[in-house]
């Protein structure tokens, strides 16, 4: 399984990343998810902090687990850090497989586990005040449902 994991300030190019997953011709399906900064009220900036080294290690563990659950040919995960504006891309998960079912499922699995396990934290700036985004219990529930499958 070809794996690319990047934590970076820079933006990414979805088309280029999907093309990277299909160059060897093995993949019949690529499913991708792109997360963006949602414009909510007077949100001006979303700043992402992370735990260097653990972030990459944890994403690697999550990707490896996905690779044991589905027959994947490639996975790319790119997560941005630093200051972002509404509309900016935050995260890309792209999954290649021979068939669509595995690609769709693994993409959703990876996002559910990234949300609940990868050590990132979001801080919002609104009209001059800053506050940390609260963890959502619905994200925990989304990750837990994979345990019973």
């Amino acid at each position: 399984m070809q794996t690319r994991i990047h934590v970076q300030h820079e933006d990414f190019d979805l088309n280029a990343e999907v093309a990277n997953l299909t160059t060897d011709g093995e993949a019949g399906a690529v499913a991708s998810f792109t997360g963006h900064v949602r414009k909510e009220g007077d949100l001006s900036t979303l700043t992402l902090e992370h735990y260097p080294h653990m972030t990459e290690a944890e994403i690697t563990r999550i990707v490896s687990e996905a690779g044991t659950r589905w027959p994947l040919t490639g996975v790319t995960v790119i997560h941005r850090v630093g200051s972002l504006k509404p509309g900016d891309r935050i995260v890309l998960v792209a999954v290649a497989s021979q068939h669509r079912h595995a690609a769709f499922q693994a993409c959703e699995y990876l996002m559910d586990y990234l949300k609940t396990h990868a050590p990132f934290w979001k801080e919002e700036a609104r009209s001059g005040t800053r506050h940390w985004v609260e963890h959502r219990h619905s994200d925990d529930d989304a990750a837990k449902r994979w345990n019973s499958k």
């Binding site: 944890e58 934290w121 963890h135």
Partner: protein, 81 residues
């Protein structure tokens, strides 16, 4: 022991990293020790339901053992993606 703090845990404690060798053998006793160091620590660790821990860059429980050579990180529940 290397201690790392992230997000509001870092802000409440007032530093991102420190090196300590407290006489503790698990995370719970480490937290109890840290809370005794000052009101900033006591505030950061006031509600343990809002604290997560990683040992040597892996998620761990509050009952996990820790030793002098470990890297221990404290942070809020994660909010990436």
């Amino acid at each position: 022991m290397i201690l790392l703090y992230f997000a509001w845990v870092r802000q409440k404690i007032g530093k991102s990293e420190e090196s300590l060798t407290p006489p503790v053998t698990d995370v719970a006793s480490l937290i109890a020790h840290l809370k005794s160091l000052g009101p900033n620590y006591a505030e950061a660790f006031a509600d343990l339901n809002r604290i997560r821990v990683a040992i040597n860059q892996r998620h761990a429980g509050l009952d996990a053992p820790v030793g002098p050579d470990d890297e221990v990180a404290f942070f809020p529940p994660v909010t990436g993606g």
